[in-house]
């Protein structure tokens, strides 16, 4: 009898496997996939920052396209400028991370989001289990996304500022460029949005 000595992990070529696995409903595959996709997107963004000419950087990688398509988008993206790319990238990252958090969130185990069960045992079971730190993190991202949606309804540009800065990781200047507005505007929008979100998230 052989007992396994190493984790089943980190072998080359596993990205495709993970994608397949995830498409078939394997949560753990998603856990592996998401940071990778995210890293890829960030790399692309970084290259764009440094590049003088956008076009050849914007080819996109096979991974990003594949992941994006698997996640339900049918269209092939073409970005004509890095400004467009930033917008798309931030939105995509937001979708990916939120979907990831939703799937991993404690409420949505096993395919269905069963919020509110009348079963007494479930109430008891939910209370008896110790909190999973990752579950709290997932929930806080979901809360942030919800709050952000409410902010977007109040002020669309401000919502985009948050999306670009938080999910896209862009600086104030990069955000101003992406939205074609002034740096001062971005700073104001960010500071006020931040205050509003913080209050919503803690007290809402």
């Amino acid at each position: 009898m052989q007992y396994p000595m190493l984790p089943i992990d980190e072998r080359p070529g596993s990205i495709t496997q993970w994608l397949n696995g995830w498409a078939q409903g394997d949560d753990q595959a998603l856990d592996r996939l998401v940071p990778r996709v995210y890293a890829q997107l960030r790399q692309m963004a970084g290259r764009l920052m440094r590049a003088e000419r956008d076009d050849h950087v914007l080819q996109g990688t096979a991974l990003v396209h594949e992941a994006f398509m698997r996640m339900g988008q049918q269209r092939q993206q073409r970005w004509e400028s890095r400004r467009q790319f930033f917008g798309w990238m931030s939105m995509t990252m937001r979708r990916i991370l939120v979907e990831h958090a939703r799937q991993r969130s404690a409420l949505c185990r096993g395919g269905g989001c069963e919020i509110g069960s009348l079963d007494l045992l479930q109430a008891e079971a939910a209370e008896a289990l110790p909190a999973d730190p990752a579950a709290e993190l997932h929930q806080s991202l979901l809360d942030l996304d919800q709050a952000l949606q409410r902010l977007e309804a109040l002020d669309e540009r401000q919502g985009r500022v948050v999306e670009l800065r938080f999910f896209g990781g862009l600086s104030v200047e990069q955000t101003a460029e992406a939205l074609q507005c002034s740096v001062a505007t971005v700073k104001r929008d960010w500071a006020t949005a931040r205050a509003w979100l913080l209050r919503e998230l803690r007290l809402g």
């Binding site: 009898m1 109430a123 993190l137 006020t192």
Partner: protein
């Protein structure tokens, strides 16, 4: 849209304020805001802007990093092995598996002196948690010594144990015989073993279990992963965790989350284990039964349970009748199973421990007879006239601490009859206190008594026993639920309430008179409604309350002159009112209905109090109902009525804050009530009344605790009391802020924060000081600070003169 325009305005004001240096922001807000509401909102935003928040500021990348590291901490990372290459005198060779409390590695004793052959391969289990306290380490030692006494060819022996000092703390480890084998279910199916072959293997397992039981140890976790078969065909019972993780799961329905309080595989756990009740050797026999069932039929004894559905499984284990094994197979195997083998298996799976086979040896003997085609001795399946030597464990505390290995020691129990009488007396006593309207006390003794009554069904002293017991159980569970709720054990309170309802429903069969059992059922249903979590169980709460109400009305009609049915109905209406108020209810016009129910309740209580000697008791109940009624009226858009109710309730509670009422409304409860009234008054728009109520609350609490309710050495020790104190301070602070905002309209006030403002700051500081050290004592602890409230107070303090 109005909200959009409003935000645009707020945003502009906020941006201007944030552009100023911090000390000037408050003044700016007070000047620029159009009204008090806007000022309050801006203030909150300004303060929020000053807070640090790692999520928002570190961005999504930071969040991802956090998730990665959180996952690494909670999951078993075989990379752990790299950190602990040397553990004691052993050298780790590789990782085998991850168990509930730690990792299991293959290891070998280092060669000493070097040059000598290293020792044989062993299994080393390294605990995750450290030996932080002396109590734990003493128990660990005791377990180790007991384990070392076990010596049987079918048991994996304990070889050594020790403590490993590492950066992560002092971690205990156990060294056990390394069993190179496969799980028994895998073995049987791979080789296609016949029934008699399976039984032969199983019997040697029974002998191993018997050996351990005679040494006073209960395994608690018998499942295929712990029963290995070596290449030579020898069965070995091991501790949990030592089985390879195969691609296809050999162990059915293993719990995915190994919660420390319940270390077991649900599918093989006995009903008493699932319920968290004391574990005995009979629990092992149950698990053996499930294992044998699984080996012979390939299925679980319970139907309709999807894999991974823990909740359905727990329900099934506790309540569902197991399926006959012979029904689950066909052909030759069915013939082999039908009849006696069916009976033996089902006996092991009996819900009541006392009805299972008396010992593993008896089980083995009967299986042998079945194998040989000899008839079973009938008396094996009747309840033994003479009781087995008792094997009660200490219950929850022991379960939490005895983590070192699956084996535990058990203690002898006293004679059944004495226990029974004591338990009954204790519970009945407590029920008399309940009838007199007194608050429940410490649950520990009551819990033991109720558990003793529950475990004990034998017809004892006369024909009245079943009825006495049923009534005592219903009342005892109800009381226990209330007591546990007060202490903050939400999940247990719910469980007790469920059991109360079950006991009350079963009272008819036990011969309890209708009136008594209806009252018991109504009380149990009320306890259940109170214990159900507001968010998830609206329908269940409603159903319980509706039924309770019917029962109470019935009682009232049957006994119109008595106080008890009146009180019951008043209590039900009050609970119904609170149900409507709890936001989760989706009823139409919830506030109106709440008001109606609560008004009826208040009237009834007032009627009870009028001209009765025990008036204080009813006044206390009425005050609580009035608080809820005020809330209902406020929500229904009648603030004036709400305020009137608040004033009356405040008066009553002041009148009761004397020694005499202390039994019915202890001072801490009166103080909590007054603090809630203060909040209501503030929301209803009367800041002055709010301040007065909050000051009353603090005075009551100070009197209750004999010292100023401040932090530090004088702070009350119990989390509940600290919380109540803190809430009173917070209520005072909020009321004062409200009052000062109304006064501060006008430029002059901007320069000097008013006295109210300063008092508010001081109140918040005191509240925070009280809340500072509070953390949940257990998952689901009710008495924990409200994070939002703490945050709000902290934000506010940033705007205070002294920070």
């Amino acid at each position: 849209m109005q909200a959009v325009a409003r935000w645009r305005r707020l945003k502009a004001l906020l941006a201007d304020a944030l552009a100023l240096p911090a000390p000037q922001r408050l003044a700016h807000v007070q000047r620029a805001a159009a009204d008090t509401a806007e000022a309050r909102e801006l203030l909150g935003l300004v303060a929020a802007a000053g807070a640090e928040d790692s999520l928002l500021d570190r961005g999504a990348q930071g969040w991802l990093d956090d998730v990665q590291s959180a996952r690494q901490e909670t999951q078993a990372s075989p990379a752990d092995a790299a950190v602990h290459r040397q553990v004691g005198a052993y050298e780790l060779l590789g990782w085998i598996a991850s168990g509930g409390m730690g990792q299991v590695y293959r290891a070998r004793r280092r060669a000493e002196p070097p040059g000598d052959a290293p020792g044989p391969v062993v299994a080393l289990k390294l605990m995750r948690q450290g030996v932080a306290d002396e109590h734990f380490s003493r128990r660990f030692d005791a377990e180790r010594r007991a384990l070392a006494r076990l010596s049987h060819p079918n048991l994996a022996r304990l070889l050594d144990a020790g403590v490993h000092t590492s950066a992560g703390g002092d971690l205990p480890y156990l060294v056990m015989e390394f069993v190179d084998g496969e799980p028994i279910d895998h073995h049987c199916s791979r080789l296609g073993l016949r029934v008699d072959q399976v039984l032969a293997l199983f019997r040697s397992l029974c002998h191993a279990v018997q050996h351990a039981h005679r040494q006073g140890m209960v395994h608690r976790d018998i499942k295929p992963a712990n029963v290995l078969v070596t290449a030579e065909g020898v069965v070995k019972l091991v501790d949990f965790g030592i089985a390879k993780q195969v691609g296809h799961q050999t162990t059915a329905a293993t719990t995915a989350t190994a919660a420390p309080m319940r270390l077991m595989t649900l599918a093989f756990a006995s009903p008493e284990q699932v319920r968290g009740q004391p574990v005995t050797v009979a629990s092992d026999l149950y698990s053996l039964g499930v294992l044998l069932h699984h080996l012979l039929t390939g299925c679980s004894p319970y139907r309709g349970v999807a894999p991974g559905d823990d909740l359905a499984l727990r329900n099934a284990v506790c309540r569902q009748r197991p399926r006959r094994p012979s029904r689950l197979v066909d052909g030759a195997r069915r013939g082999a199973l039908a009849g006696d083998l069916d009976r033996v298996l089902l006996a092991c799976l009996h819900k009541q421990p006392a009805r299972r086979p008396a010992s593993a040896a008896v089980l083995a003997r009967d299986l042998h007879r079945v194998q040989q085609g000899r008839p079973l001795r009938r008396e094996a399946w009747r309840r033994a006239a003479r009781r087995r030597p008792g094997v009660l464990l200490c219950g929850l505390a022991a379960a939490a601490v005895a983590l070192a290995a699956g084996w535990q020691q058990h203690q002898q129990r006293e004679t059944a009859a004495r226990h029974r009488a004591e338990a009954l007396r204790l519970v009945q006593d407590d029920m008399r206190h309940a009838d007199a309207g007194e608050e429940p006390g410490d649950p520990a003794g009551l819990r033991r008594a109720v558990a003793a009554l529950q475990a004990d069904e034998a017809p004892g002293n006369g024909a009245a026993w079943p009825a006495e017991r049923a009534l005592a159980l219903a009342g005892g569970h109800t009381r226990l639920s209330a007591a546990l709720w007060n202490e903050g054990h939400r999940a247990e309170a719910l469980d007790q309430a469920r059991q109360a309802v079950a006991a009350a429903r079963g009272a008819a069969a036990a011969g309890v008179a209708p009136a008594a059992r209806q009252r018991a059922l109504a009380a149990a249903l009320l306890a259940l409604a109170d214990a159900l979590p507001a968010a998830d169980a609206a329908a269940a709460r409603r159903a319980a309350l509706d039924e309770a109400r019917l029962l109470a009305q019935g009682q009232l009609q049957a006994h119109p002159g008595e106080a008890a049915p009146q009180a019951l109905l008043a209590q039900v209406d009050a609970s119904l009112g609170r149900y409507y108020l709890d936001g989760a209810s989706v009823e139409q016009d919830a506030a109106g209905r709440a008001a109606a129910a609560l008004a009826a309740s208040v009237d009834r209580y007032d009627g009870l109090a009028a001209g009765r000697s025990a008036a204080l008791r009813w006044t206390a109940q009425a005050a609580d109902a009035r608080l809820a009624l005020a809330e209902a009226w406020l929500r229904a858009g009648r603030p004036a009525d709400a305020l009137a109710m608040v004033r009356r309730a405040l008066e009553d509670s002041r009148a009761m804050a004397t020694g005499a009422a202390g039994r019915f409304l202890p001072r801490h409860a009166a103080g909590a009530l007054a603090a809630e009234l203060a909040q209501l008054a503030r929301r209803a728009g009367d800041a002055g009344l709010a301040v007065s109520a909050a000051e009353t609350a603090l005075a009551m609490l100070v009197a209750a605790n004999g010292a100023a309710g401040t932090g530090g050495a004088n702070a009350p020790p119990h989390p509940r009391d600290r919380l109540i104190h803190a809430r009173a301070h917070q209520a005072l602070g909020q009321a004062l802020v409200e009052r000062s905002l109304a006064d501060a309209r006008g430029a002059a006030a901007a320069a000097h924060p008013s006295a109210d403002w300063q008092r508010a700051c001081s109140a918040y500081r005191q509240a925070l000081a009280l809340l500072q050290p509070l953390a949940p004592r257990w998952p689901g602890d009710r008495w924990v600070p409200d994070g939002a409230a703490v945050f709000e107070m902290r934000l506010f303090l940033r705007a205070c003169p002294d920070g």
